[in-house]
Amino acid sequence: MAHVLLRHRDIPDINKLDVYKKNGGIDAFKKSVTKMQPNEVTDVVKNSGLRGRGGAGFPTGMKWSFIDNKNWPHYVVANADESEPGTFKDREIMESNPFQFLEGLAIASYAVGATAAYVYLRGEFWQVAAFLDEKIAEMEKAGYLGDNLFGTEYSLKIFTHLGAGAYICGEETALLESIEGKRGQPRVRPPFPPSFGLYGKPTIINNVETFTNVPPIITNGADWYKSMGTADSAGVKLFSLSGRVRRPGNYELPFGKTFRELIYECGGGVQEGRPVKAIMPAGASSSLIVVDDKVLDTPMDYATVRTLGADLGSASVIVIDDTVSVDWIINKTIHFFKHESCGKCTPCREGNYWMQTITHRIHSGEGKQEVVDLLLYVAKQMQGICLCALGEFATMAVVTGIERFPQDFKKVVKA
């Protein structure tokens, strides 16, 4: 089947504007601006069942319909902060199929009446930002961005903005603070961005992959999109496959394919033919799933993965084989979250510090079983009381690791 998102794998030069145009590019944006009312665009996206691809899976069209039309101007922001360990899909889209992403961003801007849109890229994507700037300039030159588009009154400018190394800026309100020239620390919500966003104005924020789905939805219609995937999770998804597989990489699949198909058919199986011990389906912030045949044959969609005691999130599937001990895994994930905690709320700032200190003790063989119990106690105290999801994420691997792989901790604790 031809790719919907990774179209560059079928059409190699699609990152050139004339090639993109020849293959139906810009048609959806033109159709939206010249033939549809903004709310009609939102309705098509709503009916398509598209859900946010950044991890939360919130219905995209519904989010757009929340924009506050009593307060102007409006902004649209693309979240290209992609910093979750295990996630590397948005980078491939921006590097190889940039116009489809930018067109989706433009259509969203029209749908909510924004005349300025920002792409917030993590600072490490310095080369990607320079590349996107070139592509935006090409679109301006061709008359697809700028003033009075397609002979209408609608005008739009797109700007890139680079972060500078902070995982927390993937949290949407921290991202907005960062564009405003402040430290990237989450805001207290509500109010939510569709009523109080960038510069205090109504703002819609979506992930790069979410926007990239929009042009084909407008062109082919909501029913076409819904014909792919499952009833709960419509359409296609990019799966970033990493860890101990033979062929790591991004794979575009309709929702509902199984972990087995992803790991063995796409990824070529586990290195040295070893068994899969655990899966983290949503990157480092994921729960650890104990793997057996039933798990491998589980369809990957938002609702079904939840029945395994985990979230699909951004579908960053980290595969762990039987040579890896779970105390080592949480030592890695906690090192990450301790470093990335923004320091604004106490449970996350202090909790991560203590989780790191205790995990180090266990991993280096200096802890007794009661220290493992203490770690679990600290993690559970953090749950449900942090200002944003980061604090919660930090506890997922710790809690599920200790509860679901107790034998790995028994091996490293002192008698």
């Binding site: 360990p85 295990g86 320079a130 680079l162 405003e180 510069y199 790591p248 890695k332």
Partner: protein
Amino acid sequence: MSLEKTHPKEVKQILSKYPPEQKRSAVMPLLYLVQREEGYVNKAAMQDIAQMLDITETEVASIVGFYTLYHDEKAGKYRMQVCTDLPCALRGADEFLNNLCGNLGIKVGETTADGLVTLEGVMCLAACDKAPMFQTQGPDGIKYHENMTVDRTLELIEALKQADREVK
């Protein structure tokens, strides 16, 4: 000297991205501009940016302190930043970094004797399928180096050394 005098075109272009009453938004791109020159942000540059954007020097310094890609101290000409987070570590990133340290005769956080390379461990760089990998942060911006081996890394350092000599 003020950035507006030394880089008028870039400053104007950066400010044009944001609404005129929101020029504070320019603080991050302006810091990148300063850092490109010297590899770090000194106190005078922070004062200059603060003045340009009508914010306090402390506010500028808090941005430099918060975000890991800004530096307030001089280091090697290139910072070689190796990812050792979970997915990279599952593909041998820790061994790669250890061997690289051994070959260069420095520890993580240290700089080679010629002042060319500072070796750093960093958090996930969104290249998990191409580990071991690192980025170089230097006068030519940030560049990714993926599917690396120690040998290929040593070749890269040799090439940077060569280029550095030619410039001098």
